[in-house]
């Protein structure tokens, strides 16, 4: 059974600081996704990582994928309050059509 684990589960950080969220998964996959969820809202796609070594950046967020280590990271640079949200990683199981989500990381950026 595929397990997708994120850490930390909760993150409170000061504006201007850097931090990394980790996503570990337990089986082979070459597709990993990051989503953002604001309170009471649906999921917004942030990044699609489709190969080993993939790195994508959008504003203050950068995501990377290491398929050999079964690890993805979401790095936050110089955090701002608007980044406060819950972030989910999701792994696509090839041949099964399934997306399995991580536990989520609730990020709070303090002014």
């Amino acid at each position: 059974e595929l397990k997708v684990e994120q850490n930390p589960l909760f993150l409170s950080m000061q504006e201007g600081k850097n931090y990394t969220i980790y996503c570990n998964y337990s089986t082979t996959s070459d597709r990993l996704y990051w989503y953002r969820q604001d309170p009471g809202k649906s999921l917004e796609s942030l990044f699609v990582l489709l190969s080993n070594g993939a790195v994508k950046q959008e504003g203050r967020l950068m995501a990377s994928l290491d398929t050999k280590a079964r690890l993805s990271t979401l790095h936050i640079t110089a955090a701002v309050h608007d980044l406060s949200a819950t972030y989910f990683c999701a792994v696509y199981l090839s041949g099964t059509y399934k997306y399995i989500f991580g536990t989520g990381t609730r990020l709070k950026v303090l002014a």
């Binding site: 597709r31 699609v48 489709l50 059509y97 399934k98 997306y99 399995i100 989500f101 989520g104």
Partner: protein, 110 residues
């Protein structure tokens, strides 16, 4: 462009009542469709997925069922709701590379 519609946005239902949530996708054909549930403050649990009309795969035994009567329509149902069915229900569709989510239905069973 493709869009996904999900309704209703909010629903309050008594225990033992039936449920029907609908999801439709526009602008694509033969999409893979998904129903997820999110309990308060928790992650997303895959409930059902469908790769074609009439083809439903269930992930967990539960009080819910799903149907796909048309190519771009996915319905989540229950004959008798339980308190534990409360949650945020999200429909999603998949293109070649990623999944896109509807706006969700917040269901409260009272």
């Amino acid at each position: 462009s493709q869009t996904i519609h999900q309704w209703p946005a909010t629903l309050v239902q008594p225990v033992g009542s039936p449920l029907s949530l609908e999801c439709t996708v526009e602008g694509t054909s033969n999409p893979n469709l998904y129903w997820y549930r999110q309990a308060a403050g928790r992650g997303l649990q895959l409930l059902f997925y469908s790769v074609g009309i009439g083809q439903i795969s269930s992930e967990v035994p539960q009080n819910l069922s799903a149907s796909r009567p048309q190519d771009r329509q996915f319905i989540l149902s229950s004959k008798k709701l339980l308190l534990s069915d409360s949650g945020f229900y999200l429909c999603a569709w998949r293109d070649n590379t990623e999944a896109f989510f509807g706006q969700g239905t917040r269901l409260t069973v009272v």
